[in-house]
């Protein structure tokens, strides 16, 4: 199977908030990388997981599916998922797929941290 062309960096801001910086391509091949990043970002005290899409270069429908399964996993842990840094194109994709109804979307890191 092709290798994932994506890098994810986890920043734990405090006991309750973590950010996953996504750089590269989100497709089916990013599954392991994304789930590992989530495992690293999540702890028993974590309440908010923030996805930083500033470095997103490509996403296909399998990538959107991956975000849905991650969202369910996060919700089952009684955490919430927020996102920022989406370009207009990817904001539109979130609207098409109605992910924007389940994930809080903000323009900048400062905006999202104000509500996290």
């Amino acid at each position: 199977m092709p290798q994932a062309n994506v890098v994810m960096n986890v920043r734990k801001l405090n006991n309750t908030v973590s950010i996953i910086d996504i750089e590269g391509e989100v497709s089916a091949f990013a599954e392991d990388t994304l789930m590992e990043a989530y495992s690293e970002a999540s702890s028993p005290t974590t309440r908010t997981i923030i996805l930083n899409f500033t470095g997103l270069e490509y996403m296909n429908s399998s990538g959107i599916g991956l975000l849905v399964t991650l969202l369910i996993r996060i919700n089952r842990q009684k955490q919430r998922m927020l996102a920022f840094g989406l370009s207009e194109h990817y904001k539109h994709i979130f609207e098409l797929t109605r992910l924007n109804e389940a994930i809080g979307i903000y323009d900048t890191e400062a905006d999202v941290l104000a509500v996290a």
């Binding site: 270069e57 599916g65 399964t69 969202l71 840094g85 370009s87 098409l96 992910l99 890191e109």
Partner: protein
Amino acid sequence: MSTSSNSPDEKQKVIPRDAAYWAKQTSFKVSNAPSGSLNLNVDGRKALSPLQGFGQMWQKTYRVRLEDTNIQPSEVIKTWKENFPKFWPKGNRFYAPLTGIAPGEVALLNLSMPVGMKLSTGVVVLYADDESFTLMTPQGHMFAGWITFSSFENDGCTIAQSQVLIRANDPAYEVGFRLGGYAKEDRFWQDTLKSLAEYFGVKAQVQTQKVCVDPKLQWSQAKNIWHNSAIRTTLYTMSTPVRWVGQSFRRKPETNN
């Protein structure tokens, strides 16, 4: 703590290379229904993601290995797009868009249901590139979600794959699926992949992997039953004689004038 460096203005200027593959919109509108098709429960419906459905969320992956062929993944997807209806199991009709499977196009589905019932619904092409395409369902479809058809290489062998990420759309469908509908759905996609493999001269078993992503029912979405296409198609079929009589009465004054 590090912060992101790309400015939002710079990002807006760059057109992502996936831009052409996504639908511009996912509204359901059928302008030219193919002859012989029943165009019901499609026009004006909203597309649904797996998050808007009622039942348990399932991710099911069906895979077939196209062993001993030199076929490339892009050729598999090209063939699949061009011949999509041919690979469907008998008794079910997929009326492909006249322009083919392309982002934003709507296809009509006339499906066979248990006890001779028919179901008329549709799908919209959410995404389509050279190695995959995804169909998204409307309100009233059995499922809320999408199905992705893809092909890729693994250990030197080309794989063809269907992957659904779905919830049953309403309580009636959920009950139906638990009473055998899920098994029927599995056979549907397994038979489709077998037909695709046979097209390339391969007889192979289909590998199936099922993951219950969310076992919870979303009772807030029970209202989806209002759009249930199986119920609406049945009511439409049952009322056909009444419509015929009504139409014949309406025509009479015109012939006298």
